[in-house]
């Protein structure tokens, strides 16, 4: 068992950490306070080339394996979740099916600009009546002549209102449930495609999240992202695990940001003549947080390694997402306690990590669903 990062990965981690510290961390507070998409930062970031992280060098990407990618996801989430969500959506979910199934023209129009940060992509699953239960998808895709006609409304779409292209999950027949799902590419400017309400969120502010409306949107055959019809669920399986582990990595990044704040405070803040870090109860909190974060880290990188090695990873990815999220929620809570009244002040950062962490509860699957799924997998269908 080889538990260390390679020398190259260590260097990558150091460079990414430093880049995030210089470019993103100083802007994190402002992004959260203004709740506006940071276009200038997005442009600068696009020029650096990280948006092509998971794609081959031939298309301008970095060809990073899942383990290396987790290093990046963790650091950018540590910097600013509001910015990270948009970036990560573009790096993976918002572009993957275009990369995987798009024609050369579609790639030229959508993928390569997205990798450069010139266009923004998103992936649309969630609807008013369906979140974790994809089989309840109501957005329909009907073949009419040579075209596909899409009708429906998607909600909670990261980057939705500002996206240049959306990979939309739609069903050819609701009665088919999970067996009727497909991915379609819908580009901005297509008649019938519009952005609806923008959500005012508790955390991850900066990312523009909202509703997308598809009203008789007509698409050519090539916009069906898939080799066959109704294979959407299978195709999703190609990245589902990575999406879950990635969510875990984001959780660890947020936890780390909060943890570092807690540590600095514990070392410097004085109460009753001593730094509060000298008190046993405070020390216990750090012992617990550090232990859980260490365990999260191992799970994240182990699961990523399994994905890289093409070993089965469904179980590990689900466990990782859940464990890392629960850890993060504990850490952001503890840190606000360590900060005392200052943990309640908008002026300081712990409250922002506290708010940001809540998205983890549903991103990548709710824990209720995951536990049911895992329990069933372990016990077997009875």
């Amino acid at each position: 068992m080889e538990f260390s990062l390679t020398e190259e990965q260590e260097f990558f981690k150091k460079t990414v950490t430093d880049t995030i510290d210089r470019m993103v961390v100083p802007k994190a507070r402002e992004i959260d306070e203004k709740d506006e998409f940071p276009w200038e930062l997005w442009r600068q970031f696009g020029k650096l080339g990280y948006l092509g992280l998971r794609y081959p060098e031939e298309v301008g990407g970095m060809n990073a394996d899942p383990v290396t990618a987790m290093i990046f996801y963790e650091q950018i989430a540590r910097g600013s979740v509001g910015f990270a969500q948009s970036v990560i959506m573009n790096i993976l979910m918002g572009t993957y099916f275009i990369y995987r199934f798009g024609s050369d023209e579609i790639k030229a129009r959508c993928l390569y600009p997205a990798i450069k940060g010139e266009k923004i992509g998103t992936m649309c699953f969630t609807e008013d009546q369906s979140g974790s239960d994809l089989s309840a998808t109501r957005t329909t895709a009907v073949k009419e002549g040579g075209e596909w006609v899409i009708n429906g409304t998607k909600m909670w779409i990261t980057n939705g209102p500002i996206a240049d292209m959306a990979t939309v999950l739609a069903t050819t027949d609701p009665k088919l449930g999970a067996k009727g799902l497909n991915f379609f590419l819908v580009e901005k400017g297509t008649p019938g495609f519009s952005a609806g309400q923008v959500l005012d969120k508790l955390g991850c502010r900066g990312t523009v999240t909202g509703e997308l409306v598809f009203d008789n949107v007509r698409l050519p055959q090539e916009n069906l992202l898939g080799e066959e019809v109704n294979k959407g669920t299978e195709y999703l399986g190609e990245i589902l695990d990575e999406v879950r582990v990635m969510t875990g990595a984001m959780a660890l990044g947020i936890a780390q940001a909060a943890f570092d704040e807690g540590l600095e405070y514990a070392r410097k803040r004085v109460a009753f003549g001593k730094s509060i870090g000298s008190y046993q109860l405070i020390r216990a909190k750090f012992a617990d947080m550090a232990t859980d974060m260490e365990a999260s880290r191992l799970m994240i990188y182990y699961s990523a390694w399994r994905i890289k090695e093409k070993l089965s990873s469904r179980k590990e990815a689900a466990m990782t997402k859940m464990f890392a999220t629960e850890t993060c929620l504990k850490v952001v809570d503890e840190v606000t306690r360590i900060w005392g009244a200052n943990g309640f002040a908008r002026e300081y950062d712990p409250q922002r990590h506290f708010r940001d962490a809540r998205f983890l509860l549903y991103g990548g699957g709710t824990h209720e669903i995951i536990k049911d799924f895992l329990g069933r997998m372990i016990i077997g269908k009875s």
């Binding site: 410097k268 803040r269 004085v270 200052n342």
Partner: protein, 326 residues
């Protein structure tokens, strides 16, 4: 008897502060009877200044050469090293000013000897001489020694007390460096002095620094008024410099200037560690902050919990009364 050479830096008719501190130390050392102290000046130096220096040392050696008329590190180092070879001092002292730190290392290479830069304490009478210099931005102090003579010591301004001059004037001699043609390739084109005429932060006795608590660049006038009454210099934290409210030259901190004034006043400064590392050796620190738990109070001698916009003007008014200045 050991010889000590003190390189004295001058500007116009003034002896620079760090040099004056060393001349005072030199006087004290000469009085022990164990040391012969000589002052060395290089290049264009006014006679009145040489006279003033001569009241501190038994000899003032003025090294001249056309190639030394303006400062250039190559020329100054050749001149000083050359005289050191002749006079065989045990140590050569200079202020750790820009000029001192710029050319004395070259002297060390010419003489193949040791140098301690930015020294903040010295036990001249120890055997060997022990010198203290801060490292890691001042987080730790290191005690260094150099066993062989000669050795060079650059002392940080505001480290030693300045005593008055003696009564007996030492000899003033001129020495021609005879630098070889082409040995000085650097040419000083011009000087651009800050139009403010204020004491530089690194030499100031009193500094008042403003942080983000000042809320806006215009509000720095509150500090400037205060500084004007007591002859202090206004400093700035990194965050206000980054916000472009104040110049880089005014920044106190690890990536700015390290200062050791007698009095340091921090107004609206939270006390980030990189700032602390730039001023922690100040003798007396007064911090004014609205937040009673501001970290700066852990590094202050005195603290006032209050609104700086009320406290500072009140102090300015009180100082005007006490010092009889309008």
């Amino acid at each position: 008897m050991d010889r000590i050479l003190i390189f004295v830096e001058t500007k116009g008719n003034e002896i620079k502060k760090a040099s004056l501190e060393l001349l005072s130390e030199g006087r004290n050392l000469a009085q022990t009877g164990r040391f012969a102290v000589e002052a060395v000046v290089i290049g264009e130096v006014a006679p009145s200044v040489k006279e003033a220096i001569s009241l501190y040392a038994e000899k003032v050696v003025h090294i001249v050469d056309p190639l030394l008329d303006t400062y250039a590190p190559e020329g100054y180092s050749l001149a000083l090293a050359d005289y050191a070879r002749i006079s065989q001092p045990r140590m050569i002292l200079a202020g750790a000013t820009h000029v001192g730190r710029d050319f004395l290392p070259r002297v060390a290479v010419l003489l193949e000897c040791g140098i301690a830069s930015d020294v903040t304490a010295a036990n001249w009478l120890d055997e060997p001489v022990t010198l203290v210099r801060p490292v890691y931005g001042g987080k730790v102090l290191s005690e260094v020694v150099c066993e062989e003579a000669p050795f060079l010591v650059l002392t940080r301004p505001n480290t030693f007390d300045i005593t008055g001059p003696g009564e007996k004037a030492g000899e003033v001699v001129e020495r021609h460096a005879s630098l070889p043609a082409g040995s000085v390739k650097t040419r000083m084109v011009r000087r651009e002095e800050k139009p403010r005429g204020k004491v530089d932060l690194t030499e100031a006795d009193i500094i008042i620094t403003g942080g983000r608590g000042l809320k806006a660049p215009e509000n720095f006038t509150v500090l400037e008024d205060f500084a004007a009454v007591i002859g202090g210099t206004v400093g700035a934290t990194r965050s206000v410099v980054d916000a472009k409210w104040r110049d880089q030259e005014d920044q106190v901190g690890k990536s700015g200037k390290t200062v050791s004034p007698k009095l340091y006043i921090a107004a609206g400064v939270s006390g980030a560690i990189h700032h602390i590392m730039g001023m922690d050796t100040s003798k007396v620190v007064l911090a004014i902050n609205k937040d009673p738990n501001a970290i700066i109070f852990n590094y202050a001698t005195y603290g006032i919990v209050g609104d700086l916009f009320e406290v500072i003007p009140a102090m300015t008014a009180e100082l005007k009364k006490r010092l009889g200045r309008a």
